[in-house]
Structure formats: C-alpha cells, structure tokens
C-alpha cells in the first residue's frame, strides 16, 4: 500500500485574527501555526493502514517554507517521507490551485490511496480533496469515519475499499469502490497518537522532496475583503466579577427569560 496524506498548515485555534492593511488576507507575521485538525486524523488513519497492510505513508503539503513545521511533525509521528510543493503564493491559494499543485507533484507516484482532511480550518473550502481526486482521475468518497481495505488484486484492479461515510444527523452509509481512490477524512475517525522523542529524532533523517508550483494554475476565486462577521443577534453581555456576573445571569434567566 502506497498511501499519500495531504496536510495543510493552518493558524492555531487560539489565534486572534489580525488583518493585513489591504484587508484581503491575515497578517501572517504574528501567526503561529499547527496541523489542520482533520488532516491529523487522516495521517493517523494512514499510519494504522500501513501497520495492517504494509507499505509507506507519504506526506504531501503545498505552501510556503513555513509548512515544513507540520511536515516534520507528520514525519515524527511516523510518516516515511514527504513531498513539499513550495511557493509563497500558496499561503492563500484557493482549492483549485492547491489541488492542482498537489496533483502535479503526486502524479508520478501512483499512490494506491490518497487521504485528505474533509475541510481546512483556515479557508474551509471543503473542496481540495475532491478536486484532487478529479485531477488524479481516481474515485473518491467524503466525510469518512472508517476505512476497510481488501488488498487482493483482481482483473487489473489494485484492490478495493469499503468506507463508512457520515451523513447528516447521526446517519451513516457504507460505500465500496476500487483502488486507487481518494478519501476525505472526518475528525474523530480514530484516536490520535503524538510524536515520541524517538520519532522526532528519526524524522530529521527522512526525505522531504521539494516540488515547484506548476505553471498555468489559475485562481478560481479572489478574496476582495476580509472582515469580522456581522452579528445577527444583540447579545446581552453581562460584566463584572465572576460572582456578580453569575448572580445577574441567574436573575435574568429566572425573571426575564423564564428559563429556570
């Protein structure tokens, strides 16, 4: 099994947004970054599949030099090697450009399985995985909560997959498809492991292949402005010390909202 995992580097959850002067992107200078959450679950799933079926796990990331941080982290958790499509313009790229960049770097590798997260915590397009499948010419399924692989090859097929897809409101569905295929992984599919000191040391020696951004990728959308979201409701904010605020809230819930 040759498995690719696409990992995006995104601002940490604690990050408080600050905008660049032109208000079309964030001020990157004061951001600290982490691995996109569903991508961490995708990586863990790939590592578990490798433990079961053998093979290798290759991390793929498109972004400026800074994304090496999450690449190293993925290698420390156990991925075998990495591909980094490096270009400063990828920091704010849309899903078509990101998928195009990843597809061109992955094309020669002929992966049996490609895993991505279902959505990025920064731009949140929820598209890149599916677009990548389309560019690689392989079938896909999304919002996956369980992966079963039957590696037996038959009639020119590289094995097959059975995956559990999440539907809305607590419903699920199993879907079968041939390999190679692409899956977008949902958070919570497994329990994450973290890097060990041994893993961190070993990661230093692992290969990161650099690939350049292919020419001719056209953005499909442009951010004209970023802003704080408009509020739809007038929240009654209660101030004061914890004790004072608690007292006032309980009074309001009893007398005004009649919720107690």
């Amino acid at each position: 099994m040759k498995i690719a995992v696409c990992i995006k580097q995104v601002p940490t959850r604690e990050w408080q947004p600050r905008l660049r002067d032109d208000k079309t992107w964030i001020r990157e200078a004061d951001v600290s970054y982490e691995m996109n959450e569903p991508d961490a679950y995708a990586l863990e799933e790939a590592l578990r599949l490798r433990e079961k079926h053998g093979g290798e796990v290759v991390v793929c990331s498109a972004g400026p030099a800074r994304v090496q941080q999450v690449i190293r982290e993925a290698l420390a958790r156990g991925a075998d090697r990495a591909i980094h499509v490096e270009d400063d313009s990828l920091a704010a790229a849309d899903a078509f450009v990101s998928a195009g960049a990843l597809a061109s770097a992955m094309a020669d590798e002929t992966f049996d399985l490609v895993l991505t997260g279902l959505q990025s915590d920064d731009q949140g397009h929820g598209q890149t995985g599916v677009v990548l499948a389309e560019r690689l010419g392989i079938p896909h399924s999304t919002i996956i909560m369980e992966v079963q692989i039957d590696p037996s090859t038959s009639s020119g097929q590289a094995g097959s997959l059975r995956v559990k897809r999440e539907l809305e409101g607590g419903w699920f569905q199993w879907i079968a498809m041939p390999l190679p295929a692409l899956l977008t992984i949902q958070s919570g599919i497994n329990q994450l492991r973290y890097a060990t000191l041994k893993g961190i040391m070993a990661a230093k020696k692992k290969e990161i292949r650099k690939a350049s951004l292919p020419a001719g990728l056209q953005p499909s959308q442009q951010i004209v402005a970023l802003a704080m979201p408009a509020r739809s409701k007038q929240t009654h904010l209660i101030g004061g010390s914890a004790g004072e605020a608690a007292k006032e809230l309980v009074r309001l819930l009893r007398d005004e909202a009649r919720a107690l």
């Binding site: 998928a99 949140g124 699920f172 569905q173 929240t235 608690a246 309980v250």
Partner: protein
C-alpha cells in the same frame, strides 16, 4: 438563468433546497431561476417544487440515479449544465453537495464558492460572503475565470419562508445518458448507529461543553453546572471525538439537533456545524473567554470570561 440543484432522498425533498432557492432568487434579480433534480421515480418531489412556482423544473430520472453516487451525479448534472448554460449553479451546502459539487466544478473547470452566507449584488457582478478561519472572519469572494459559477449556500443562512412564490411551473424530463460502468462507487443503505440512550431533543435544559474545558478531568465543572440547572450534559464534536463523552451527546450537523428552553454553551466557539444543531433553542447562554467567538452571534446572554471561574460561581448562585 440561475440553476438550482435540488436534493432528495427516497423521494423526500431536503428542506435546505428551499433556502438555496431563496438565495438563487436574491442572486437572479430580474433573471430567471430554474430547478434541476436527479433521482428515480421522483415525480412527486418534482411536482412539489413546481407547485411553489419558483422556477421551471427539470427532472433527471434514471435507474442509475436511484441511489446517490458522486460519479452519477457529476455525469448527469454536467450534461444539463452544459446544455442550459446558466450563469450560476446554486446548491444547499449539504453533505451530499460536499461530496460531488467540487468534482462537478473541477470537471468543468469552473469556480466553486462554498458555504455562502450572503449574496452581494446580482448576476455576473455578484460577490459572495463566506466564513473563513472557523467563522472568526467573513470573506467577500469574487469568482474568477467565467461562468457558470458554482455556489453552495450555508444551511440556515437564508430563510425558506422568504421564497417568492409564483404560479405553478412546468416540469420536463431531460434525457439521461449514463454508462453504469462510469459509476465507480457502490453505496449500501444508510443506517443509524445503535439508538441513542439519551434523547437530548426532549431535554428542557442543556449544558453543552466544548474544547474550552481543556481535559476530561475537568468535565465535573460542567456536570455540576448541569445538575444545578436541572440540565442534560451535551458536547461539541471534539469532546466526543476525544472520547470524553459518548457520541450520542454530540450536538450539531453530524449529531443531534435540539431546541431546549435553555442552552448553555460552555467553552464552545460556535462553528456553523455546531450552531445548526442548537440555534433554535429558546434562550442561549454563551460563556467564553473570547469576546469575538462566533457563539456570541447567536447568544441571548453572554459572559466573557473563564469558564472555570464562572461555572462554579453559577452553581453557587443557583444553590443559594
């Protein structure tokens, strides 16, 4: 023309389709809206759509469309889109749309703007507002590279009851030419995991805990507050993902939808996938240390502060 892709399962229309239609009307201005729906034996749904008179209905009816697969939907819809050449193709941002719309747009090499909360302007010059950075920011986005532009509409962002109805519209069947061997996914029947032991939809009061609780050891902070309020305990997705509380206590698009008398969100940021499961609650209280957290957009009462100070203070006050 604006083409709306309706969604049905087993002959039942997904109600989010009405919201997509309202968004399409906003986008259309004086232009026309049309609706396309795919499936097999879906005449009743097509009639339901036509009866609203929001636009003529095109039906893609084929046995190969009996159950949803992304490959079949991409092939069937592509033909209609290429034939009717709409300026925009509008969908509700459902899990099904997430599964095939990016492939459809990518195959046609046309822009796809997802999770749209507002439409600014009409026609070719329209821009779209969508959340970024987990709802911390809203982006105004302009499509690039010509139409048709694909747009998916966030659930709940447009009100279905704002639909401008007209006289009964026409229903026509469009031919479908689908080679079964081009469909690579084989789906099985949808199912629910073992029936939830707690039915949170019946709880009059709910205390929901999010990642702000930091660790499983801190859960009693929320449990005590729930007890003092006579409330059930629920959670955001990451709490259940981590196994700190069972999945059946998850609120949101992939968990339960609730509308209690009182919903207290403790250390929950208010991502849209959480909000869709609880924003119908009668009174919403948010306790969060970040004054800009999106949860305050739906809260009636808010306390900006540390839940580890405020929750115990509330318990003390309630026990007085």
């Amino acid at each position: 023309m604006i083409l709306v892709v309706a969604e049905q399962r087993d002959g039942t229309l997904n109600r989010a389709t009405w919201e997509a239609l309202v968004a399409a009307q906003a986008l259309a201005g004086a232009d026309e809206v049309a609706v396309v729906i795919a499936g097999s034996g879906i005449d009743a749904v097509a009639q339901e759509l036509a009866a609203a008179g929001a636009g003529d209905v095109v039906v893609l009816d084929d046995v190969a469309l009996k159950t949803y697969t992304p490959d079949a939907w991409v092939i069937a819809l592509r033909a209609v889109i290429e034939q009717s050449a709409p300026s925009h193709v509008v969908f509700a941002h459902t899990y099904q749309t997430r599964d095939f719309a990016p492939a459809l747009a990518a195959r046609l090499r046309k822009p796809l703007i997802t999770d749209v909360t507002a439409v600014n302007g009409t026609g070719a010059s329209a821009t779209f507002t969508r959340p970024m950075f987990q709802g911390k920011l809203a982006a105004e986005v302009k499509p690039a590279g010509g139409g048709p532009v694909f747009v998916t509409i966030q659930i709940g962002a447009f009100r279905a009851d704002r639909l401008q109805k007209g006289s009964v519209a026409s229903v026509t069947k469009a031919p479908v030419s689908l080679d079964a061997s081009a469909i690579r996914q084989t789906p099985e029947a949808p199912f629910q995991e073992a029936k939830a032991a707690v039915d949170l939809s019946q709880a009059p009061r709910i205390v929901a805990v999010g990642r702000g609780i930091k660790s499983q050891e801190n859960l009693p902070v929320a449990e005590k507050l729930a007890k003092a309020l006579g409330a059930e305990l629920a959670a955001s997705r990451p709490i259940c993902d981590n196994g700190w509380l069972p999945m059946e206590r998850q609120i949101g698009s992939s968990g339960q939808t609730v509308a209690p008398k009182l919903y207290v969100a403790l250390g929950i940021s208010g991502a849209i996938q959480h909000l869709v499961g609880m924003k119908g609650s009668r009174t919403i209280v948010a306790i969060n240390k970040d004054a800009d957290a999106p949860i305050f957009e739906v809260a009636d009462y808010g306390i900006v502060g540390d839940l580890f100070e405020i929750a115990p203070a509330l318990v003390a006050e309630l026990e007085k």
